[in-house]
Symmetry: D2
Subunit: 358 residues, 4 copies
Amino acid sequence: MKNTINVQVIGATGYGGVGIIELLMHHPNFEITSLLAKDTIGMTIDKYYPHLNKLSSLPIKETSEDTIGENCDIIIFATPDTVATDILSSIYKNKIHKKIKVVDFSGDFRFSSENHYKEYAEKHPKIDQSKLQVSEFLNESVYGLPELYKQQIEKTSLVGNPGCFAVSMILGLAPLNSKKIIDTKRVTIDAVTGTSGAGKTLSEVLHFSNMENNYIPYRALDHQHVTEVKKVVSDVGNSIESLHFVPHLIPVTRGIMSTIHVSLLEKTSEDKLLNIFQEYYASAPFVRVSDKLPTIKNVRGSNYCDISLKVDESGEHAVIFSAIDNLLKGQSGNALQCMNIMFGLEETTGLEKPPLYP
Amino acid sequence: MKNTINVQVIGATGYGGVGIIELLMHHPNFEITSLLAKDTIGMTIDKYYPHLNKLSSLPIKETSEDTIGENCDIIIFATPDTVATDILSSIYKNKIHKKIKVVDFSGDFRFSSENHYKEYAEKHPKIDQSKLQVSEFLNESVYGLPELYKQQIEKTSLVGNPGCFAVSMILGLAPLNSKKIIDTKRVTIDAVTGTSGAGKTLSEVLHFSNMENNYIPYRALDHQHVTEVKKVVSDVGNSIESLHFVPHLIPVTRGIMSTIHVSLLEKTSEDKLLNIFQEYYASAPFVRVSDKLPTIKNVRGSNYCDISLKVDESGEHAVIFSAIDNLLKGQSGNALQCMNIMFGLEETTGLEKPPLYP
Amino acid sequence: MKNTINVQVIGATGYGGVGIIELLMHHPNFEITSLLAKDTIGMTIDKYYPHLNKLSSLPIKETSEDTIGENCDIIIFATPDTVATDILSSIYKNKIHKKIKVVDFSGDFRFSSENHYKEYAEKHPKIDQSKLQVSEFLNESVYGLPELYKQQIEKTSLVGNPGCFAVSMILGLAPLNSKKIIDTKRVTIDAVTGTSGAGKTLSEVLHFSNMENNYIPYRALDHQHVTEVKKVVSDVGNSIESLHFVPHLIPVTRGIMSTIHVSLLEKTSEDKLLNIFQEYYASAPFVRVSDKLPTIKNVRGSNYCDISLKVDESGEHAVIFSAIDNLLKGQSGNALQCMNIMFGLEETTGLEKPPLYP
Amino acid sequence: MKNTINVQVIGATGYGGVGIIELLMHHPNFEITSLLAKDTIGMTIDKYYPHLNKLSSLPIKETSEDTIGENCDIIIFATPDTVATDILSSIYKNKIHKKIKVVDFSGDFRFSSENHYKEYAEKHPKIDQSKLQVSEFLNESVYGLPELYKQQIEKTSLVGNPGCFAVSMILGLAPLNSKKIIDTKRVTIDAVTGTSGAGKTLSEVLHFSNMENNYIPYRALDHQHVTEVKKVVSDVGNSIESLHFVPHLIPVTRGIMSTIHVSLLEKTSEDKLLNIFQEYYASAPFVRVSDKLPTIKNVRGSNYCDISLKVDESGEHAVIFSAIDNLLKGQSGNALQCMNIMFGLEETTGLEKPPLYP
């Protein structure tokens, strides 16, 4: 007999929402019992997303006190920053606290300390600083990156799903810092992201005529994901003192690659560094370490993170490449990995689909 | 107890080969027991296709008398035209005829009559006409389009998997012709295909710098798939006397859409025509008829064929739109659908994954 | 001594506006004296369009009674439908009629008869039908397609620049209809356009994540450009009774190709048809007839229209391919060609730049 | 009276060749008198490149002792590495030395010292090391970057046109190093290039189905252009001791952007750094310094290099962004700029066309 775990998705019509809907569609253990959103109420999800025709006709319901937490064992907040905090502070507290698990896709629960959260939130371009609110449940939350915090995820009821860039950067940096062999004063990262990272919100930048055949750096040295990367990577080794990060938009829809430059504290060979990665991720089913440089297309549509590296002739400078699908390992795929762990299921359940190549 | 069905894939390193490998990877009934190719012998498939790292490490073996048919219940020929005919005439005959089922991705077994095959083969730009050979098993073969020939596929051991353009055109034309309401003297089809339809063979046309931001008509009024479309569509209604088809390359990797113009023998409303399609495909799990025009991205990465149509003000001219992923419903997905049927499994097994959107 | 012709551009910040600005930048005879728009007033054009940095710092002025027609010999209306009609009815009449020439990019002056204009305007999705107004100057206007109406353009003060799809279709259809050798009851056209045809207005369809790797038919059998195509092509031969047109969006920014199917009234060879085109366009500097099929990239960034054709085995069905850059030969390039003619200059002045390939 | 300068192009059918042909087509001073190649002899250039139909019908001639240097004042070698050295050593010496000027697109003449050349050549993946030959004319050559070496270019007969990545990197690094304010031990550059940088040679990587929606790092920390960047940038200030460079392919055809990280020797504001760039390029017509980050599309199709920068909160780390069209400012456009200077013409002649946007 299958024990079905009931799932509610809030924010069902964004890319994050549809991502988790698709993953749960044929999952052997989870079943979506309700979809909540703030508009298109009453429409079924396949009318909103015609690619889901014949796959799901769940109705989209209003997000209200009545519907939130209704008939579910876990709520997925596929919502922008601050939404989950707002809802949990009013409703969760009385009604559902500790009875219903939560995974939030925004930054609301990525930090267990108020200071870290504020540092993050102040850099976030979409958070109204005047209304900034710190959740009272912050200290119960766990950073939802299974490769580093699997045991904590097993025990928590409240997971803050990592930022997409952060997943790519942390998985690329953690192993070497865990060995304390990189200069934590000089980490430089240039990363690229597909346009889906910016979601469905229309903008001149993302207008097809502008974006195709283009390459667009933005928010250079000023991105909010740096806070969580520094905090998490510091957790596993030396404290990261300086991390310079520049994101760029590329004309692809899905994918993130981080090109991470580190100075090695002593000369080290490529093979030795690769071994460190291999060992660090020996029991991580979705990290694939290789001596071949990764590409975005080799991970697109899958939950894998592909990692490789190069060392220069001096042996003192390494470049680590870390590639993910921003909507899967960078969002809903990673969330499902956490959900599997939170409910004692096999970590990989429902996630082993191959990348879409070509 | 699961009765595993063993599968051999010949031509494992082309897009067709990797397509069927990916689909069978987590199929509950089929298991690939050997991959044959003509080069890269000894390499494992994940070395050849790094996106399959951690997913499959099956070795690629030589295609030889010893390996062909070895330890399998079915052979998939993901090979160019004439290869299956050659192999079957020499080996199949003595060794494996009727014991092992066969699905061939090329045109070798799409026709049960020699005349039709020759008409097709003479138009094929890659068949060496001087060596043209008609298989002695032609009359045993079934055209592998489950939406039209499910019962025949159930009983046969030899399936000719349809051409990718043909799938799209036939599914768009069959319902109205089955009602005998279109003028069979004037069918006009403009279709577009993604570049993966041309496979992995390098060419100036498909060089990225040429192909991106481009749109390229080719082989206008002279494509070999027309033969099978006319034959199959005629089978279900009136004989198609004239079908003008122009294929075009678009700068996408996966996807085919056919824009099919027909003259209606009498005034008919859009609703009535949509009803005919709905009824015709009432029991076809992978055809999605809708009153919204299809797009390629809504089917990409899935086995669905999305169909819609428009009728002009006069009520005498209809345009039918039919979209598929050329590598799935146009190739390996359709082949698996046939395989499921040939072995008495549920037609949809292993095929219900949603399109990759966005 | 150079006699400078002063130009005012209204609607300077759209793709049409910037297109004509770029072409006039180094033109030996024309000089832009003012740019008018409805917002971004006071900004210089290179602040609005950073790609024009160091190329033009003309200020954007308000469109008002004072500025319209100020210090210019010609006004270019790079504005949506109905804007030119509104402005001309109030201001032009008293102030500038016959003293200042006009080229309008919208459909306002593409028809000299009220009936044709209304048929067009009623199909236009962006015209508010309740406010529909027919210009009192309609009968003075000339359809600005130099390949067909050069002599009329020479003499007029008021040019209606053609629709982008219309340019491509008319240039593909006119030669054979001028010989009265096609069946005017059955013309079928499938055409594709790059996204810039829809301008700068943001939409879900044109959001990069949706549009890339996509192919999207729209307004099938219901596009307003058909009216002008039928009218103009009928002008040079038999009356076009039926023309079925389906436009599709492709994931490219610039370019239109029309694939035009015609039935030939008698068997004709490809060579003979090509000769008809060659002769018809013998003195047209921007039409390139070839026996090789055109591609969009071969015309992108230029004012050329590339045309070729195929005839089927029966000799009774021909397909004509006609490709342009929708923003140049389909808009500002064609407008400049008209302007050159209106002022007695060489038709090709400032327009002979090669396509951007690759 | 116009004094026409006659030009011979060797290697006329590559992207470099067609690039210079297009630029010279309407140049008021230069005229191409012959095109040489190694195959397609006898064909006219517009048959080879149909986008040049009606623009140029120059015949392609054999590259032989008879044709080389025939009827010309300057030879453009748009050829791979070592070709110009080979030809000049045998033919140039006796026949044309000092009578005919030379611009070479490869690395053959980018270095005046044998050591630098060898360091470069040893890293070059396409140079057969066993046949490596140093030109006897090396010491006569000038590095053809007008922004740094205009006076030397005026006087020389032999210009080595810079590498495309090198142009972008040098223009981004030279100003700050000329002020000696960056730490020359730690320069880190991640750059991206469009696929045309790899020319017309077919490869699996550049096959459209692989390249679109992809992002591919390659030759990390091991690219031959680093040698010329370090040498040239060192020339204007402190010696660059360490420069870590990682190139990546992006799915665009034209464009390079370098993201250059430098440590500042003392705290400096963004404004001050921008001023340094503004001053350094005050008389450089094709460098556009701005406080807005550049994009590739804003320079595509033009000879401009767009530069901007950001400084972090500490004031000690700067990122410089430098964008060019790799085929224009990165190749033929820059070459024409040199040619103009070599013949005493205005540097910008024939080069002021705006970028193709959108």
